[in-house]
């Protein structure tokens, strides 16, 4: 069922994410810089960085295979697919029928694995170390997203993301339930972990003992590096979008909304994501990075919260028996 509104909404989402993601990252850096008393380069700096990288030459290290070359493309591709699926601007995306929570988690994991393989493919110590760390984190992050998603899908009687958002938009009281609160806490932790923010990973570090994401992409330069940075920014954006719309779905356009509705949706989601990003950046100022071996504790805790959310939600609101 391709509707014009749906296709238009989806395109808006993809374009919005593609264009807005570096801006969001820049904005968060800027917030952080200001809070730390620095002037900051301005929100557009990531775009300028990307442009600079694109003009550089691609370098393929000796001994690497097609995995190394393909990983950035896969990563960017998966990010774009998720951007098309998640109900950011509209719940009526034509991909919404496959836009199941499980599909999103699967696609997300695909990107993660591609990058981890690329890290291994270089055969360097750092690449392997980063890959091992990121897989450790992913092993705990993905189940958490799944169980938290199950918790949220119970009131909507569907794991379809559009349906969940629509249900929550119709009955805002659901957000106040313990299950939703637990699920929000769980998802917030995993989004932070998955996007490599403090306290799990420091996006601004190149110190070998602490880095996770940066360790894997150490060998990349030029357009490939630009692609990876861009894709990472998009992942951050879509995950924040998902988080914010699952719990605060106000302003999201319905299935048959016209251009005005889509515009409102775009504005609303941009504002909400920017606000959440600001909060995240502000929180990071006060956080120190966790020691790596404490990270599984944090993630195990968030998995537990997610599981509690799922069980509470199922048993308190589910059918008897």
């Amino acid at each position: 069922m391709l509707s014009v509104s749906g296709v238009a909404g989806m395109v808006t989402q993809v374009v919005g994410v593609a264009a807005g993601a570096p801006l969001l990252v820049g904005w968060m850096r800027q917030v952080r810089a200001r809070l730390e008393g620095r002037a900051g380069p301005g929100p557009a700096q990531p775009w300028r960085d990307l442009r600079k990288q694109l003009h550089k030459q691609n370098i393929t290290p000796d001994g690497t295979t097609v995995v190394f070359a393909a990983a950035p493309v896969v990563l960017a591709g998966t990010s774009l697919v998720i951007a098309a699926i998640v109900p950011g601007v509209t719940t009526g995306s034509p991909l919404d029928r496959v836009g199941d929570l499980f599909a999103v988690v699967g696609v997300l994991l695909l990107g993660t694995v591609a990058l981890a393989l690329a890290g291994l493919d270089t055969g360097t110590a750092f690449g392997g170390m980063g890959a091992s760390r990121v897989v450790t984190i992913a092993a705990l992050v993905e189940p958490t997203i799944l169980v938290a998603g199950v918790a949220l899908s119970v009131p909507a009687h569907s794991s379809n993301l559009g349906r969940i958002v629509a249900t929550t938009a119709a009955d805002p009281g659901l957000v106040a339930s313990p299950a939703a609160a637990l699920a929000f806490a769980a998802l917030a932790v995993v989004v932070v972990a998955e996007t490599g923010r403090l306290p799990v990973d420091n996006p601004a570090t190149h110190l070998e003992l602490t880095m996770v994401h940066e360790a894997m992409i150490l060998e990349y330069t030029g357009p490939r590096l630009a692609l990876i940075e861009w894709a990472a920014a998009m992942r951050l954006t879509v995950l924040l979008t998902l988080l914010v719309n699952l719990f605060v779905p106000w302003g999201v356009a319905g299935a048959g909304a016209g251009p005005a509705g889509l515009l409102v949706g775009l504005g609303a989601v941009a504002f909400k994501v920017a606000a959440l990003g600001t909060a995240l950046a502000a929180a990071e100022v006060f956080l120190a990075k966790l020691r790596l071996f404490r990270v599984p504790e944090l993630l195990a805790g968030s998995f537990l919260l997610g599981l509690l959310a799922a069980t509470t939600s199922y048993f308190l609101t589910g059918p008897a028996g």
Partner: protein, 231 residues
Amino acid sequence: MSSHTYTSLLYLASGVLLLSAVGIVWGRPLRVAVRLLAAQGAALAAIPVLGGAYRHDWYLLGVGLAVCVLRAAVLPGLLARLVPPPVGLTDPREQTGAGERHETGPLLGTSASLMVTAGAVVLAYAVGQPLVALDPSPSTRAAPVALAVVLMGVLLLVTRRRAVSQIVAFLTLDNGIAAVAFLLTSGVPLVVELGASLDLLLFVLVTQVLTARMRVKFGGTDLGELQELHE
């Protein structure tokens, strides 16, 4: 109070009960554990208070307030006296007393404990099914949450290696049981409730004295020191 509000608030109280137990499993500092225990006591007391307010049952309301005083104030207050206050970094005692302020060397690491807790929650729901099936009322539906708290108490008891941690663990277990009682049957008969509360108070007093004696005899409260008696 409408039925919907009552149910939401009841579930909120159960949620806080569960979260405070998770917090106790998660954290190491004993001070935090004692504070969480107080929050847990308050959440537990909220269950009969809500029930009393909803059904206009003054007796239940009174029991709830008494439970609140005992479990949110008196017992955590007694326990707090066993945890040395935090001392400044310049204080030379900082090094020596560290073990008395934190749970040290539990038998299970934090991640593993949290994973076992997750299993315990699922187990509690499985075990609680017959209860819900017998009487599918809103409060009975929350009983498995309380059972999960009981199991977390057992987990804490088995894995923790500090005297104060074990008392906290026992009180968590007992809070869970009391919550089961309030959720299933609005509490047990008065004479039993009174007797059980008195027993609980005496238990804490006795273990408090024992902990103090342990500090004198063993120079600390590490239960790993208790190894003289064995076959």
